[in-house]
Symmetry: C2
Subunit: 209 residues, 2 copies
């Protein structure tokens, strides 16, 4: 534990914190490579190249490609949760839910590799023997539950459009969001994810967007 | 051209029709393997194994893995168009459009590998150097256009729900359909594609489903 070090003091890193920095660099490179190439086509060699290591040294930090991918997803989930919380603004106000979704969608589109990391890897994870199948099954169950929760709060506050249930709002928003992100990955110049999502949320809620 | 052969007559196939049958067998096996594994993890060895050939002989029919995948997609597009036309029933009645979509969705869910062939390969095609990137860019442009066309006909016939435009109906239906199919691929026991699509079409149109 290092505390209260003035900003101007050069920090001398022990082997532990140097190793930590290395891990972070590797995770950042792997996020980019897996997010763009997917798991199967993403290579340890390319990841190692970005951080200026050889692949064998990289395996000192993450023993297998699977372990590295899982670490990337775990790390991203932490960041995503933080971004989602920050983007959600005042969580006691259900009227802010649609705008929070739009901020998250904008953030996803701005950070390279994020949409690929979830959309591309989710699709790829449906293939036999893929290391993150269970992760994505669990993730979708969790996200479906979260979406149902926030739209239920909107329903309780009479903020859904006439005839729209929380169940439909949740399933349609999650489905449409993923589908549009997939179209965006394939043809980014033709598709505006945020605009599509805004129009959908305008249709299913009574919140002005 | 062989015509009017009684059903009981054994057909003697010349080298050409035998080769044709071989091609069909290979395409069927490749549809299954690419639809379940995607392109990168789908192997020529596995495809050859299903039809009882060695991979080298298979390359006599399709010179590369890329050529074989393209042939699979071209073949499926022919079948899909035929199924879509048949499912569409009377194309002069725009009120039948939502039920036609549901029949296609049901057919997709019933034929193994079809959803994977489009959803999985579409996602995978967004990765660098994937052989079907251009195919999917063009395919999505064509499908978006088709969807806009059929929903425009529904709009003209006053069959869309109040406030729903043909543009929104097309984009939301295509996006949601793809997104739900992706969730289904990952966790088929939790997701019913047809039910999701039926609920969506019930929301955006005034047709009883």
């Amino acid at each position: 534990m290092v505390e209260n070090i003035p900003a101007s003091t050069p920090r001398r890193r022990g082997p532990y914190s140097k190793s930590d920095g290395r891990r972070r660099d590797i995770l950042a490179a792997a996020t980019q490579v897996f997010g763009v190439n997917g798991y199967r086509a993403g290579s340890l060699k390319e990841i190692a190249g970005i951080v200026g290591m050889n692949p064998t040294s990289l395996l000192h930090y993450f023993p297998t490609k699977d372990a590295l991918l899982q670490a990337v997803l775990d790390e991203r989930d932490k960041v995503s949760d933080a971004v989602a919380s920050a983007a959600a603004g005042d969580p006691t106000d259900p009227a802010d839910v649609p705008r929070a979704f739009l901020r998250i969608a904008q953030n996803n589109q701005d950070v390279p590799g994020i949409i690929g990391l979830y959309t591309l890897l989710a699709a790829e994870s449906a293939t036999p023997g893929h290391p993150t199948r269970e992760y994505f099954v669990a993730r979708y169950q969790r996200v479906r539950e979260q979406f149902r929760g926030v739209f239920a709060r909107m329903e309780d506050a009479d903020l859904l459009a006439p005839g729209v249930t929380a169940e439909y709002a949740a399933a349609s928003t999650l489905g449409l969001w993923d589908g549009i992100q997939m179209q965006w990955m394939i043809d980014p110049d033709s598709i505006d994810v945020v605009a599509h999502l805004r129009r959908h949320l305008s249709m299913i809620t009574v919140v002005e967007l």
